[in-house]
């Protein structure tokens, strides 16, 4: 064959055939596939397209998209390499199989004496036995060693005994290479290639909007059929669905199912240490073909198989937990009353904030939070934060701040606080607001203090007293302008503080006070502000401390409250939401798949494994013994070859030679 391949007179198709079956191409393709596969592991696949835009910028985003890098493994060029490999392997198998099959059975009875002598493994010796006996014991010996044996009479009364063991080795080649083809074909059947093709033809279109299932247009729906797919769906407890969503590019398609799946219950079991032990769903399958609905529990590693569909436990999420909330006003415009209302996770509602209307979107709920304390230096220290819920407050312009409130108070330096995280975008870490709890362990104390600070009359009143006391302590002479200006200052210090915390006050000092007076006035302003805040606090504090300890506790509370209020402007929400009760509803994340190619792939895998072991560990060994009678002496010429493990064969050949020599010696006695 190799001689022919050099001939220039081959037709184009013959040359193509030779090229496809060439080893160089095969090795190149194996390595090319390996390198191509790397790309898909380095660049995370099938992420939302907006993430890629952010990561690469608009230009490279386009370039990478054109190259199909967001879904390498179904990119055209990748499939082309794969197809070439299959083609090349097929050609190779087609070309080699006939000769291999022949080699499996052919005992090579035509070998010339000359070639036997020329073989790498070759021995000869004389024996006392006659020719017939010699042939008989050689055959018996080789037979006992597991060889297939055949004798052929040769010229001059000589006999050639051809023997072979491990002819199956050749089957190993056929199996392994056939397996590659079979696996790839089976895999092709299960790929989403057909969908891509249909999309390219314009028969289906990918839906990118977040809309209710019923509104999804027909061209984004796939009817029940035999095609392969892998989709997913979240079903809240007590609800059911008859579709699955297939993620495609930057959107999805809707796959209809021939049955309805209901999630009766979803459970998470925990180990004693708190780590999750199992995720399980109780499913009910409704199908007209069933006499009664099929009930089965599924868990990770234990899917439900029905009608060629497999339903897997893949994830879980919130299924619209009912939340009873209380909104504590933080901002003056939010009023002074706490308001109770009920909502659900994933609901959104309008909220009036002064003249502005904002959108309150409930996003998440978790019944337990055993987390590292974000304020603790030791990340190993875990703490129970109780239930948590997340929400977003979206302004008219569409910008949203994201919040995360924990419902168990968290101790910090011996005092209890409610923790509320806030951030401006998902890329940021949460910053935390610490709301101090009063002596009764409630927010009421903080709330009362806060509403006092919102009360202009009270501030006025306190400013008046403080102004008078201050001037009195100076020398007592009344000065109308000084009075007004001091009162105004005190008043506006508090207002400034309420607007932007200590930061705003410092900014004011920095920008509005002449450089020469900054040294003295700056600290004076700050201490005046503190004094004002303290007076306002004690003015409203209901319980007069009876012990020194209580008095200290009040001072500490005051400090905590002032810290919290100082950071309210950055917190950005007009209310603090407190969870008073909840009705937990979970959703089970199911993966639903149909893979008609699976049995084919498994068959290929079995062939591959058998083939590989046969190829490596079942060497094909051939022996020839030519028994010759020359001048009355019987001479044995032994030759052998093996297509694998030459070293072992060296040893084996040596041994079999000894064996035969010994046998001939013995029999001669």
């Amino acid at each position: 064959m190799s001689e022919k391949s050099n001939s220039p007179r081959h037709s184009l198709s013959q040359r193509l055939f030779l090229f496809l079956g060439s080893m160089d191409l095969a090795i190149t393709l194996l390595l090319a596939l390996a390198v191509a596969s790397i790309i898909g592991t380095v660049l995370q696949q099938n992420q939302p397209y907006t993430d890629y835009v952010i990561k690469f910028g608009p230009f490279w985003f386009e370039v990478f998209e054109a190259a199909g890098l967001y879904d390498v493994y179904s990119a055209l060029w990748f499939l082309a390499i794969l197809c070439l490999l299959v083609l090349s392997t097929s050609v190779c198998v087609i070309r080699n199989t006939p000769s291999m099959l022949k080699d499996m059975f052919n005992l090579r009875t035509q070998v010339q004496e000359k070639s036997l002598r020329a073989m790498h493994h070759s021995q000869q010796w004389d024996t006392e036995n006659n020719l017939k006996d010699s042939v008989a014991y050689v055959e018996a010996t080789l037979d006992a060693q597991g060889f297939r044996v055949k004798q052929t009479p040769k010229d001059g009364g000589a006999v050639l005994i051809s023997a072979m063991r491990g002819g199956m080795n050749r089957l190993g080649y056929i199996f392994t290479h056939l397996a590659i083809i079979i696996i790839c074909l089976g895999g092709l059947l299960d790929s989403n290639l057909f969908l891509k093709f249909a999309e390219w033809q314009g028969k289906i279109s990918i839906e990118t909007r977040d809309i209710p299932t019923s509104e999804i247009p027909n061209e984004s729906r796939l009817a029940v059929g035999y095609q392969a797919f892998r989709g997913s769906i979240n079903i809240p407890e007590g609800r059911s669905a008859q579709v699955a969503f297939l993620a495609m590019k930057d959107g999805y398609l809707l796959q209809e199912l021939p049955f309805r799946v209901e999630v009766k219950d979803f459970r998470i079991e925990h180990y004693a240490t708190g780590q999750p032990k199992s995720f399980e769903s109780d499913l009910v399958v409704y199908d007209d073909d069933l006499e009664k609905p099929l009930e089965q529990m599924i868990a990770v590693n234990h899917p439900l198989l029905y009608k060629g569909y497999a339903i897997y436990q893949a994830s879980f999420s919130d299924g619209g937990t009912g939340l009873n909330l209380e909104a504590w006003p933080l901002d003056k415009q939010a009023g002074n009353e706490t308001v109770s209302f009920d909502t659900r996770v994933f609901d959104s509602r309008k909220m009036h904030w002064g003249d502005e209307t904002v959108q309150l979107e409930m996003t998440a709920f978790r019944p337990f939070n055993i987390n590292p304390d974000p304020t603790d230096d030791d990340p190993e220290r875990l703490r129970n934060f109780g239930p948590s819920f997340g929400f977003k407050i979206r302004s008219n312009t569409g910008e949203a701040k994201e919040y995360l409130n924990y419902m168990l108070p968290v101790p910090r330096n011996g005092r209890d606080f409610y923790l509320s995280g806030v951030r401006n975008s998902p890329a940021e870490e949460f910053g935390y607001l610490y709301l101090p709890l009063d002596a009764d362990g409630e927010l009421v104390g903080f709330q009362r203090f806060l509403s006092t600070l919102h009360d202009s009359e009270k501030i006025e009143q306190v400013a008046q007293t403080m102004m008078l006391e201050t001037l009195e302590s100076l020398d007592g002479k009344r000065d109308e302008t000084l009075e007004q200006s001091l009162k105004q200052t005190l008043n506006s210090l508090v207002k400034m503080f309420m607007r932007g915390g200590f930061v705003e006050v410092s900014d004011f000092i920095e920008t509005n006070i002449p450089e020469t007076e900054k040294e003295t006035l700056g600290p004076a302003y700050l201490s005046m502000l503190r004094e004002m805040l303290a007076r306002l606090y004690f003015m409203q504090a209901s319980d007069v401390p009876s012990t020194e300890q209580e008095a200290d506790a009040q001072l500490v509370f005051l400090q905590d409250a002032v810290d919290a209020i100082g950071s309210l402007s950055r917190y950005g929400s007009p209310v603090y939401l407190e969870l008073t009760d909840y009705d937990h509803v979970e959703a089970s994340g199911l993966q639903i798949a149909r893979s008609p190619g699976k049995p084919i792939v498994y068959l290929g895998c079995a062939l591959l494994i058998v083939g590989v072991f046969v190829l490596f560990y079942l060497p094909q060994r051939r022996l020839w013994i030519r028994v010759n009678e020359i001048n009355g002496r019987v001479n044995l010429l032994l030759a052998g070859m093996s297509n694998r493990n030459p070293r072992e064969f060296d040893q084996y050949f040596e041994k079999i030679t000894q064996h035969l020599k010994l046998a001939s010696g013995n029999s001669s006695k």
């Binding site: 390996a34 240490t273 990770v300 590693n301 792939v601 895998c605 490596f616 070293r647 040893q651």
Partner: protein, 385 residues
Amino acid sequence: MTNNIGILNNEPSRPIEQWLWRGLIFIAAALLIVRYFDVLDSYELSITVFTAACLAFLGQNWPGFRRHIIIVSALSFFAIQLYGDDLGIGKTNFFLSFILASQSAFMWMSALFVMATFAYFSGLLLRSPFTEKVGTVLTWSATTMGVVGLMVRWRESYLISPDVGHIPVSNLYEVFILFAVITALLYLFYERRYQTRSLGGFVLLVISASVAFQLWYTFEKQAHEIQPLVPALQSYWMKIHVPANFVGYGAFAMAAMIGVAYLFKSWRQEINPKGLLATSLPDLSIMDDLMYKAIALGFAFFTVATVLGALWAAEAWGGYWSWDPKETWALIVWLNYAAWLHMRMTKGWNGKPMAWWAIIGLFVTLFAFIGVNMFLSGLHSYGTL
């Protein structure tokens, strides 16, 4: 031709020894099955039978392995008896806390492997067969302690709580020990077969490196603590998928280290054919052959492991192939060695380029083994469940 024969010293054991061994394994397996018949499910029954068959097969011509299995069984039983039902005894009992508790056994294993590495290299450099033999003994001892440690750890996990109990092949820490042990066993097998102790240091080098990593992992990350299994790992596929993978990794690692020795020798031969390394290391052709053997073995087991992984994925993730990074890297490793084998078998390449390629192969394998866990995210990191 004839001068190669002395190299192969793989005389089969006498039939009486073989039958004694097979009988012993049969009795042990039968006792186990009879004693625990009520609690074993069909999977566990078949895995017991399969394991027994493997042990019987491996031990029939390999006296060292027979000894190893017997000692491991005895020590493990002893440790389990000492433990009884109380994990706390591990801290107070002398034998447990200093020798047999899994953590102590692993420390012994680590120390012995490092000592073995030194012994092999000293033997090579001093041309002292005795020192090399010490290396072999140390390697066997280290392997024994490693396997005992794994066995005892298995039991310890059940002592923590029955629902926490699992075979110790479930996290990076445990599989590192598995890697060290399997690589050592593979090496010991070929050492006996080819009578070449001079390669010991090279192979043990990679084992020592893994031991070093594992020690760092223990002290820096407290990784040795037994953790309960996350739901995704609660599958019987894990118990066969992981060990099959590590036969592959171990064999590839060994091939690479033989590649290193090969390059060393051919380099020294050019410079100083009479020098120490040039004469002490085995023939180039032997190393070439060994490299092929190791890669073929690794390839076969890696194929099995990948197929098992696909079967498992079909059950756990809803598809036998998801192009998850770990999966994809397994494919890359596999393709790489497939190309290597073709180069050698059909293009007849051998020698230095193949040695280099085997070494590069180790880095590819290493990335699939550790790099993926460290740098890439995917289903194997169990991010969602």
